[in-house]
């Protein structure tokens, strides 16, 4: 019982204990804030990538695409684990506003908007036709014209708060889109002077996926037109990828395995067909693997942050070690007194470990609460700083980040508290052990006082 009483009293009555407490609270505060923001950014980025492609992607990087995609889509639609499928044409094009000499190379995606919205978050990224993807390619000013959906950053600039100033209705812009149509063997489909296919599309809506690269370099076109532009509408129609959405109760890994299995069977069945060689280049990937190149960079940054905070943890252990070493140096008389009344070495270690536990627990709880409070108000603080000092954590005119992520993950908080308490216990191990080994006769000598 004296261990509990003395642990609390050492914490409450010793100024040096406040230093240890503050060291823990500050470290925990920093870790909570940075980890929450970093984890939030990574999670948000992953969710946006997931929303962009659906759960699973069957496709090829080749600009030629692959044949018989419709047959495989039928197989997928008949299976019990797939909710929706959407074929996509992916290629590159030169895009120029009609009547100008300017042009820019952009990525094009040919989609069937309704199907694609059932599989991905496409419908939700639209502005004028939000939630009504069926009319995504029908310009408000003339629904009979072939429309195109343009990445928002190609149309509008972000303001300082990361918002776009949309017009009441889409501007009447005609875009000339030129592609090199390719044969199934990858050769240019046309020869002579007119080797490109060019079509004019009318700006019907903009898409805001939240992915900077997508919003700045992508243009959505109606599937059939894109197929035509890319030369994929031959006898064996071709597509670049099939995006798949699984039913809600299907685990991602299980769904992908099933798709891969179906695909292997499909490839075997089609092996004797024309253009079957194109199927060999097709891979089945989960959205995580398909977007790995983009996600990995963020995950790497997150891993680096975790490593950096491991060093912060080591620093905390060292601070606790120093503080405890000082505390125990000051408490050598108490150690002698306690031993003189029969307290064992183990009990002394327990006493100082209990003290370390209290410092760790109280410091981390205060650090977590402080961090939580700061996170709750962080966006308001940033707004205030921007209004008064033009300071922003990220320049919203450059980075596609809205509010700073501040959703606290209780599991992460739990891990941080446990780590902080463990750090304190580790920091207190050697001083506690040394305390237990002190010779009581020496600590109680007059010359030691």
């Amino acid at each position: 019982m004296y261990k509990i009483i003395l642990s609390f009293r050492y914490l409450l009555k010793r100024r040096i204990s406040y230093l240890a407490f503050l060291a823990v609270a500050l470290c925990v505060f920093i870790v909570v804030v940075v980890m929450t923001v970093m984890t939030g950014l990574v999670k948000d980025f992953k969710e946006k990538n997931h929303s962009f492609v659906g759960d699973c992607v069957v496709g090829t990087d080749s600009l030629v695409g692959f044949a018989y995609y419709e047959d495989f889509m039928k197989i997928l639609e008949q299976s019990d684990f797939v909710e929706g499928v959407s074929a996509v044409i992916k290629s590159y094009a030169l895009v120029s506003p009609r009547g100008t000499e300017q042009n820019v190379g952009l990525e094009i995606m040919g989609i069937e908007p309704v199907r694609h919205s059932q599989v991905t978050g496409f419908g939700g990224t639209l502005y004028y036709r939000k939630g009504d993807a069926s009319r995504a390619f029908k310009p408000l000013y003339d629904p009979n014209l072939p429309g195109c959906v343009v990445g928002i950053d190609r149309v509008l600039a972000r303001d300082a708060k990361g918002e776009y100033s949309y017009e009441a209705s889409p501007m009447e812009i005609a875009l000339s889109v030129s592609c090199f149509p390719l044969t199934a063997k990858g050769a240019l489909a046309k020869a002579g002077t007119s080797i490109v296919n060019t079509m004019t599309f009318y700006y019907s809506d903009s898409s805001r996926s939240g992915l900077a690269r997508v919003d700045s370099s992508l243009i959505y076109l109606p599937f059939e037109y894109a197929q035509l532009l890319c030369g994929m509408n031959g006898a064996e129609k071709r597509a670049s990828v099939i995006c798949i959405k699984f039913k809600p109760n299907v685990r991602l890994e299980d769904g992908c395995k099933k798709v891969a299995s179906l695909w292997r069977i499909f490839v075997r069945e089609k092996s004797s067909e024309r253009r079957a060689e194109l199927l060999e280049n097709v891979t089945v990937q989960s959205w995580k693997d398909y977007r790995r190149a983009f996600i990995a960079a963020m995950e790497k940054e997150q891993a680096m942050i975790i490593v950096m905070f491991a060093f912060v943890g080591i620093t905390t252990v060292f601070i606790i070690f120093v503080v405890f070493y000082m505390i125990i140096s000051h408490k050598s008389k108490d150690i002698g007194i306690l031993k003189s009344v029969g307290v064992s070495n183990v009990n002394l270690i327990e006493l100082f470990s209990g003290f370390a536990f209290l410092v760790g627990l109280s410091g981390s709880v205060v650090g977590v609460l402080g961090g939580w409070l700061f996170l709750l108000k962080m966006n308001q603080i940033e707004d205030w700083l921007f209004e008064h000092f033009q300071f922003q954590l990220w320049d919203r005119t450059i980075y596609a980040i809205g509010d700073i992520p501040n959703a606290v993950d209780l599991k992460v908080l739990g891990c941080i508290i446990v780590s902080a308490v463990a750090a304190c216990l580790i920091g207190a191990v050697i001083p506690s052990w040394q305390a237990a080994r002190l010779n009581p006769a020496e600590t109680l000598q007059v010359s030691q006082l």
């Binding site: 004296y2 003395l6 009293r9 108490d334 007194i337 003189s340 009581p440």
Partner: protein, 231 residues
Amino acid sequence: MSRDEFILQAEGIYKSYRMGSAEVKVLKGVELAVKKGEFVAIVGASGSGKSTLLHILGALDKPDKGIVRFEGRDLGRYGNGELNKFRNKMVGFVFQFYHLLDELNVLENVFLPAMAGKSVVGWLGCRRRAKKRASQLLGEFGLAERANHKPYELSGGERQRVAIGRALMNEPKILLADEPTGNLDSATGNGILKVFEELNRAGQTIVMVSHDERIAQKAGRIITLTDGKIV
């Protein structure tokens, strides 16, 4: 006299310390025997090894050579647990500088040995009895109204009486006092010695260390320690 009549015996106690590269021999074959109910004063000049001998008798320190027997049993053969129990139950220490814990109040300081000897559950079972005993001791020493004060709020004499209360908390068989009046004025010191005399009259065995022969006169027997030996 048979060995059983002695509560505490020291046979051929040697102890030395290192001071830098030099070895200082403090005790050079001390022989001592204390009978049950005796009040023994050990006197000697400063640095003669009185406190070292007292610490060895109370198992706070170990001799380099020699045997300390408590009720006939060699303390050197005690395990760590038994030594802790011995210090908790069998002996009570009173130090020159009181050595009270500043974080505990007077009452808590007195019942500290009772707490130290129990687990949390064991303490919950006996805490009322222990607190009652501690309050009773404080009452006997005229400190009943100081129970909730902190040690640093008391005078030297009051602190020493609290320390005596703590030493007596577990009703030890022997009380070891190291210069108990050394830090007090003579009137207050006399008050402390009176407490010791009363305790001894009630049957308490006391071994007291002092450099002052006048104070030692209060004891029933005086042992002089000179140059590390009893003379």
